[in-house]
Structure formats: structure tokens, C-alpha cells
């Protein structure tokens, strides 16, 4: 065997998903919106001004992930006084844990700190010890739409 990267570990593990270690800053807020339990703000090392925002529905606090389906991509989503691109990902087939991932538009973050780096830090939990995949592979489903969000 040759030298390899350490296995990815969860910095914060929730029942259905986790935030992998590697973020510069993780902030958890109670949501003011009835549909979400918490809002997570994940900032990277290189461009903290371009965070990944994760809006977590109540259904993500029980069960395990049995699905990782890219649902929708929406532009011009208002949150925190700014406009964001929103990617919705279904982590449970029953639809109770459709997390929303907000990233800055391409024009604000052309290097994709949040889009590329942020999504790689979000992992779904397929077991109680949170074995599972990063959501990074889903970027391909959203990338063209994200690159078009220049206006």
C-alpha cells in the first residue's frame, strides 16, 4: 500500500448528515423559518466571505440517509440580506430531509470556494456511525446552472 489521505471524519455529526472536518468556521443558528430546524454556516480557509449555508429541515434529526438525489437548482434566493443560489438535495426517500445548500452566485465566488469546497464537506450518514459519501459527486448535476449564475 502507498501513503494515502486520512479517512474523512465528521466534525459535527447529525443523524442523517454530517459536516466533515476541514472547515475554518462552522456556525449553527436556530432558524427563523418554520420549515427548518437549524441553519449551518460553513466557511472555508481561503475565502471566508463565501460560505456554504445549509438549511436543515426537522426530518434530518431522525433516521439515516437512504438517498442522495439532486432535486433542484434555484437562483435569486434571499437569505441574510443577500441573494444566493440554492441546491436542494434529498437525503431521505420519504422527503423529510431535503436539505437546502445555499452558495454565492458564480459572479461573487468564481473560484467556487463554497460550491466546490463546501459541498465536499457535507456527507450523508448511511449508518449510525455516519459512514457515507460526500455530496461532492452531486456537483456535476448543478455545475452548469451554477456557472450560469453570473448576473
Amino acid at each position: 500500500m502507498v501513503p494515502a489521505a486520512p479517512p474523512a471524519k465528521c466534525e459535527i455529526a447529525l443523524p442523517v448528515w454530517c459536516i466533515r472536518e476541514g472547515a475554518y468556521e462552522i456556525v449553527s443558528q436556530f432558524s427563523k423559518h418554520n420549515a427548518y430546524r437549524r441553519v449551518w454556516i460553513i466557511r472555508g480557509f481561503f475565502k471566508p466571505s463565501s460560505p456554504l449555508i445549509v438549511r436543515e429541515p426537522y426530518g434530518c434529526r431522525q433516521g439515516l440517509s437512504d438517498q442522495a438525489e439532486a432535486l433542484t437548482f434555484d437562483k435569486h434566493i434571499k437569505w441574510g440580506g443577500k441573494e444566493w443560489n440554492r441546491m436542494t438535495v434529498q437525503l431521505k426517500k420519504d422527503g423529510s430531509c431535503n436539505i437546502e445548500l445555499l452558495v454565492p452566485p458564480f459572479s461573487e465566488d468564481p473560484t467556487g470556494e463554497a460550491f466546490f469546497g463546501g459541498l465536499a464537506l457535507v456527507q450523508r450518514c448511511m449508518t449510525t456511525s455516519c459512514d457515507g459519501d460526500s455530496l461532492g459527486p452531486l456537483r456535476g448535476r448543478f455545475e452548469m446552472a451554477w456557472r450560469d449564475s453570473r448576473e
Binding site: V2, P3, A5, P6, G22, F45, P137
Partner: protein, 133 residues
């Protein structure tokens, strides 16, 4: 993963006969590398493979540590001598131990300074390990 690169004219000829370092970015390392994770061909090696789907800048930094001559510091990783580590090296987070983004520790810096691949003879110039010629 987006990589911004600067093109530098080079060739094996002006690398003093040494092989050039290469970083191969594959869509996903699962099913491609031996471990299924990002890898370097050996400690002090010149060939890194990383996955666009799941790897981050921190992962690439870890692998570049291997190319520079540093060993792993996590359980089941390879130390600088190529031996499997039975447990994590004690101490705080660091780039060769985990993917937290913490910087290199003194062990890593020492391994890089003393790496055979980084030590030239005095005939070639400076020897870092001996403090110079």
C-alpha cells in the same frame, strides 16, 4: 475541484534528470486508487492522485506533504519509513494526521528537511540536512 495553474515551461531535461511531479485529478478516487482515497506513489514520491468529487485543498496539501518526504501520522497510515502506523501519533491535529486543515507539526518539518529526496550532495550545492556545505 477547480485548480488554477500557472504554466511554466519545463521538461525532464531541466529537472536535473529527476522525474517531474505530477498531480492527476480523477473524477473519484474510489475504485481508482488502492485505498479509494487520494494517494501518493510513495513517501518522497512524484505522483499524486486526487479525486475531484470528494477531495479538498487540505487533501492535496496532505499529499504534497508526502511528495516532500513526510510520512503519515494517523493510525493505519504509512510513516516516513513506509511502516504501517498502529495508532495516531500523539499530539494536536496536523496536516499529516487529519483533514482538519491544521498546519504541519515539527515532526513533519523534520522529515521533509531530512528526506533523502530533498538532500543534495555538496557537489550539487546545498545540503539541508547537514546545514549547508
Amino acid at each position: 475541484m477547480t485548480v488554477t495553474a500557472q504554466a511554466v515551461p519545463t521538461s525532464p531535461a531541466n529537472a536535473n534528470g529527476n522525474a517531474l511531479n505530477t498531480i492527476t485529478v480523477v473524477p473519484n478516487t474510489i475504485g481508482v486508487t488502492q485505498s479509494g482515497r487520494a494517494e501518493t506513489n510513495k513517501v518522497g514520491g512524484n505522483s499524486v492522485t486526487v479525486g475531484a468529487a470528494q477531495d479538498t485543498a487540505t487533501t492535496v496539501s496532505h499529499e504534497l506533504g508526502h511528495t516532500a518526504g513526510a510520512g503519515d501520522q494517523y493510525a493505519t497510515g504509512r510513516d516516513v519509513g513506509g511502516n504501517i502506523l498502529p495508532a495516531d501519533v500523539p499530539g494536536p491535529n496536523n496536516i499529516m494526521k487529519d483533514l482538519s486543515g491544521a498546519p504541519a507539526n515539527s515532526q513533519t518539518l523534520g522529515e521533509i528537511i531530512k528526506a533523502p529526496t530533498n538532500v543534495n550532495t555538496c557537489a550539487k550545492g546545498m545540503s539541508a540536512a547537514s546545514g549547508g556545505c
